[in-house]
Symmetry: C2
Subunit: 195 residues, 2 copies
DNA sequence: CGTGTATTGTACCAATCAGTTCCGAACTGT
DNA sequence: ACAGTTCGGAACTGATTGGTACAATACACG
């Protein structure tokens, strides 16, 4: 017995994700969000309480979509060699950047921003990155070269790869013409050559 | 024949560097800078024109100090093996983070921020990172394992190391408890094991 | 010992920020 | 049709943003 909401919550979160992904948390102003989401202040605050709460939902959404997609890539049974799955992940990131998508990774951008001083945001970012690391570990276990290694060694290499991933996506977002992103896949390939 | 400036320009830039390094470009407000530099609005604008110009001077200052220090480490003739120089660079970064200095790297933080849309700032950040990359290449040429490799291979590995450096310093700043920074040196050591 | 000049500090500016309030409109269940 | 609610939209709040204008101040030079 009430007036129904005229917009779809999930759609709105999806659109908000786009805005935050493009501009970053702090830089995304409320007018930016309102325009991108196609609704007005009243509706936004009624539905999402405030900017930070909306961002937490966006981080969840990003985890469910982008992180899950990365994990799917990293555990794709269609690719037998886990190293190729990892290369495919980096390939996708590099391809996005070279084809004009300079949004980078929402989590990586957030990790470098001041919003990390908020414990709830930090926890959400941590969850997302942790998810990518787990995906990397899964893939490494499916590598003929690394699969047999002990757990600690796999974890160590996954850490290196995750760090590399963050660095690469920061560079992709920066638009710097250092020529690093373009050769990012080859770099990771070298990383995976070692025993 | 006029009233002399009551503060030292270089000192002020040094103090401004501290503020920007700690808070980031956007997040450092004018009051933050005024307090950190110990002067008032009038003096700051008279001496430095505006916030962005001050930041450009700060980037130069950072290049002259922090980047130069990194380069010195990476070409230290007292350390014969270039790999050890590289490890020493990462060691220093990790040590800073584990001992409570979570400022990370001014250039890396800037690279991940929205200020990169300004071409002058982007150019300055590019110069700084380029300097670190050159240092890494210098060190690699002094590595018994890599020194004999062709130029392209050295450049490729330097790119991987720079990306790793950026990722690591972003993580150091983020204060995330992923346990990656602590083992960052070991990760790089693995990276340098390969031929 | 003035006089000119640059620095300093303060008051101010418009713009923008996130967030609140409130009323008219719109829809549901009866 | 009506009562009960909730939504949508605009106007508004107070704080903060970077930047400016100007008057008081303090120094150097003649």
């Amino acid at each position: 017995m009430a007036r129904p909401r005229e917009f779809n919550i999930d759609d709105a979160i999806g659109k908000a994700t786009e805005v935050f992904w493009t501009k970053g948390y702090q830089e995304a102003s409320l007018p930016d969000l309102l325009e991108g989401m196609g609704l007005t202040r009243g509706s936004l605050y009624k539905a999402f309480t405030d900017k930070k709460t909306l961002f937490l939902l966006v981080l969840e959404h990003y985890e469910d979509r982008a992180v899950a997609a990365a994990q799917a890539r990293l555990s794709d049974p269609g690719v037998a060699d886990g190293r190729d799955r990892i290369l495919s992940l980096f390939q996708a990131s590099v391809a996005a950047a070279t084809s004009g998508d300079h949004r980078g990774c929402l989590l990586c951008t957030a990790a470098a921003g001041a919003e990390m001083s908020d414990p709830e945001i930090a926890a959400a970012v941590q969850r997302g990155l942790q998810g990518i690391r787990e995906g990397l570990e899964t893939a490494l276990r499916a590598s003929p070269v690394h699969g047999a290694q002990e757990e600690a060694a796999i974890r160590a290499l996954a850490n290196v790869l995750l760090t590399q991933y963050i660095g690469l996506r920061v560079l992709a977002r920066s638009q710097l013409s250092l020529g690093i992103v373009e050769h990012g896949v080859a770099g990771v390939a070298r990383l995976l050559e070692m025993s």
